[in-house]
């Protein structure tokens, strides 16, 4: 997550103090990502160095009442960031995927039992997040969006585990357990960003 661009977005609304930026950042992100004040000022100093924000020079540097405002360059940088999709073109080195792939080849490991351990953990996490949604009066729109995003992320992992579980079961029934052979299309592997 880009604290740098989140602070630019807050300053786009008008000049603000450092402490005010911290409070508003936490409120806008559903208070799910706490931010310490040191991180705020370090980021603001870098933004100022890069000419993306200007500070109120009338007060002392480290004062919590020092004001900041966005520059034209900062506004352009923010617009560019908002419209640039995050890089999702390469599959991440997902630890859960790697654990399951490793387990398939390991003698003495019941991969279905392993999948269930991870499935239960993920469902328990989802139960915790859903508990937060139970009392609608407790949270605002931003928090609801953050909770939804986390639930969908966890849900997608469980769906993958379910699919993997079914695929492995069918492969075992067909006597066609996956052989440890490399993916046969090296060009496609490189295109997808899969490292050799």
């Amino acid at each position: 997550m880009s604290v740098r661009h989140a602070l630019l977005a807050l300053l786009r609304e008008g000049p603000k103090y450092g402490l005010q930026l911290r409070q508003e950042f936490e409120a806008r992100t559903g208070e799910v990502w706490p931010l310490n004040v040191g991180q705020v000022y370090t980021t603001l100093q870098r933004l100022e160095r890069d000419g993306l924000v200007e500070s109120d020079d009338s007060t002392e540097d480290e004062s919590p009442q020092k004001g900041f405002r966005i520059t034209e360059e900062g506004a352009a940088e923010l617009d560019n960031w908002l419209r640039t999709p995050p890089d999702l073109s390469s599959p991440p080195r997902d630890e859960l995927v790697i654990k399951v792939l490793v387990a398939i080849e390991l003698p003495g490991v019941d991969v279905h039992e392993l999948v269930q351990v991870h499935r239960r953990y993920l469902v328990e996490l989802m139960q915790q997040w859903t508990r937060l949604k139970e009392d609608e009066s407790r949270f605002d729109l931003n928090f609801a969006l953050v909770v939804d995003a986390e639930l969908f992320r966890l849900d997608s992992l469980i769906r993958w585990l379910d699919t993997a579980d079914g695929r492995l079961k069918r492969a075992a029934l067909e006597g066609d357990a996956p052989a440890p052979q490399p993916f046969p299309l090296p060009k496609a592997r490189r295109k997808l960003g899969v490292k050799q």
Partner: protein, 240 residues
């Protein structure tokens, strides 16, 4: 106190080479006021578990207790009475009668149980009102959206003094907003004292439950620990 209990329940269909073991030695308890989700892939035995819990089918072995009463001790009529008076069912495809209005669909189980029509209608209207559907009472199912139809089906399942709600993929045909609304209604019914079992393959749905039981090839293979409350989660996130 457990309202529903399955003790060492097995279900076998067919014989010899055609034998299919749908459930194998299932133990499951559901307390009054709690929501239990049963998760599993297609063919894992989820729906069979639900039909046996709801006395729509008998187990091959083992016993089902509803409010402490063993179902095997009940006659066919006794089971039918139990289903009418104590158990509500919710299905993925709603199962509303197309020729009846929403209020008539909800009042029907009460009238079948001998409740006078006027009294049954009043109870049905109250149930619809609880689910925000009072203004849809005279609408027929084909005049309602999918979400509204399922809410009518839940109103029908909890109308009267039913204490056990059994739901089979209750939001399978709905978008995420309506699916969440359906689960909120089921959970609200549990918070008022009902025991509920929801079978599903959907983790988002299951995550509304107090406990999730995992079924695989007819066996209970795992279950979640009790979920922590919001205060604990918010504290973990660094907020009180």
């Amino acid at each position: 106190m457990s309202y529903l209990e399955l003790r060492d329940v097995s279900k076998v269909y067919g014989e010899g080479a055609a034998e299919v073991r749908a459930l194998h030695r299932i133990d499951l308890t559901v307390a009054a006021g709690s929501l239990v989700a049963v998760m599993g892939a297609s063919g894992s035995g989820k729906s069979t578990l639900l039909t046996i819990a709801g006395s729509l089918e008998d187990p091959t072995s083992g016993e089902v207790y509803v409010e402490g009463c063993p179902l095997s001790s009940l006659s066919r009529n006794g089971k039918a009475r139990l289903r009418r008076q104590s158990i509500g069912y919710v299905f993925q495809d709603y199962n509303l009668l197309a020729g009846l209005s929403a209020v008539e669909n909800v009042s029907l189980p009460l009238e079948l149980d001998g409740v006078p029509a006027r009294k049954a209608q009043a109870a049905a209207l109250e149930s619809l009102e609880n689910f925000g559907l009072k203004d849809r009472a005279s609408h027929y199912p084909d005049m309602l959206s999918g979400g509204e139809r399922q809410r009518v089906a839940i109103a029908r399942a909890v109308v009267g003094n039913r204490q056990l709600l059994l739901a089979d993929e209750p939001s399978g045909a709905l978008d995420s907003h309506n699916a969440e609304a359906v689960m909120r209604l089921i959970l609200a019914s549990c918070r008022r004292g009902m025991a509920a079992v929801v079978v599903t393959h959907d983790a988002q749905l299951a995550s509304w439950a107090d406990r999730v039981v995992f079924l695989r090839d007819g066996r209970v293979v795992d279950q979640t620990l009790p979920a922590e409350g919001p205060e604990v989660i918010l504290a973990d996130l660094g907020h009180q």
